[in-house]
Amino acid sequence: MILREGDIEIEFPDTAQVERFDVPSKHGLTHCMKAVDFVVTDSGRTFFLEIKDFEHPAAPPDRTSADAQRFLTGQLNEDLKHKFRDTFLYKWAEKKLSDPPWFVLLVALTDLTEAELLAQQTELQRILPVSLPETVKKRWKQPLSSGCLVFNMETWQRHFPAYRVRRKSAKDSSPRD
């Protein structure tokens, strides 16, 4: 099935369960709990998926570049941290957390290089928290998350070849085969 967030589309196999999580009417608690965009379960992995499109064709350019700047300087990390934790709590209450979920951030920004993705990933791992100091590792019996990964569209495709990602606008404007 095809997951859509604005101009970004990701194709998941039919065996996957894809839930659009941040719908206020279905969620019921968005006034006091933050929510990631999607919760996807496939092949035994649960992903809390957040998509940030900083190059939406219809958005005004200075708006998106201001947002991109906020992302690059780590100002969105607080928001992402709460989205992860609140989604975790909600899913725990639903008794739908069999394995620690993955937090996956897909950032559509062509200028973003792997070095920057790595830097963002490392910082997010520190705050979610995913990477833990020694004192905590001794006390915690189970992790909150299986991992935190940050992708752009190109690296997403490289590491998840089975989940095709594309821009809806690119598909619409290309000539028919």
Partner: protein, 341 residues
Amino acid sequence: MPVESVRLTNFTAFKKLEIEFSPGVNILIGENGTGKTHLLKVLYGACDVSQSTEGLAEKLVRLFLPSGNALGRLVRRQKGSATASLAVIRDGLTVRVSFSNHTKQASSAQTLGLRKWREKPVESVYIPVKEMLANAPQFRSLYALREVHFEAEYADILDRAFRPLLRGPVDPQRAELLERLRETFRGTVKTENEEFFLNSREGRIEFTLVAEGFRKLGLLWLLIQNGTLLDGSVLFWDEPEANLNPALYGPLVDILLQLHRLGVQVFLTTHDYVMLREFDLRQKDTDRILYLSLYRDPETDEIQHATSETLSELHPNVIQKTFGDIYDRVVQRALTGETFG
């Protein structure tokens, strides 16, 4: 009068190389052994002889130090006889030099165009990777007596550093640049009997005790203060980031861009991702930046080059690729392995 282009045939590692440069900032990347430093030295040698009475072939021997000062050893190594030829073009003028691999003396080389080349002298400075100011006392006299086996750029940089500071008011642009530099190493540089000192809040500290990164920035301050780096000069800097903490790369790039805007042509080599990215992020539309990549052709092993005005379009980019590899390994390790903590 900026350097416009270079043509090299059979010279050291190069079989055939022809590059057109930017009158602004030229940033060279490439794996070790792709000739970046040699290229910088050739260009610097050509610029330097425009202001001296030394021949270009002689200068090349002193810059490259082939064994026994045999010029012919700078010809690309191959079986049989071969000829190297070099041409540097600047402001419509070309200086050419050629020699065979049998050439023992620099004086036997064929040089063309040097007289006209000298009618338009250009000020140039080459900052070598190893900072020299700390080792300055008596170095130049030893070098002049041929008592030390150092390449010419080490003596040349000291000559530039020892020039007296310019007197009189400094124009506001240069003053601002000098101030920004001063903030990075927190002091001023003074010379006394061939010894360099950093005058800072902590007092008068001899260069031998100052961090190497700060010494390099101090050198840059001196070169701007004494008029070596002015509108029309050419700066060659091999790995400016060496011995500098990445926190200072941004301010350094800013200073290099300011120098460019003041009319200095810049050539630099770098191995560092942050340096490249800082240029990419700080350059303005009015700046003229050229990114150059030297690489070995996978089939012939010959050195080729690629250029781009934007960093993202530069291919191959070995620095970018290395980060790509690290990122891929980190993600793969997370997806396939233990990730608790």
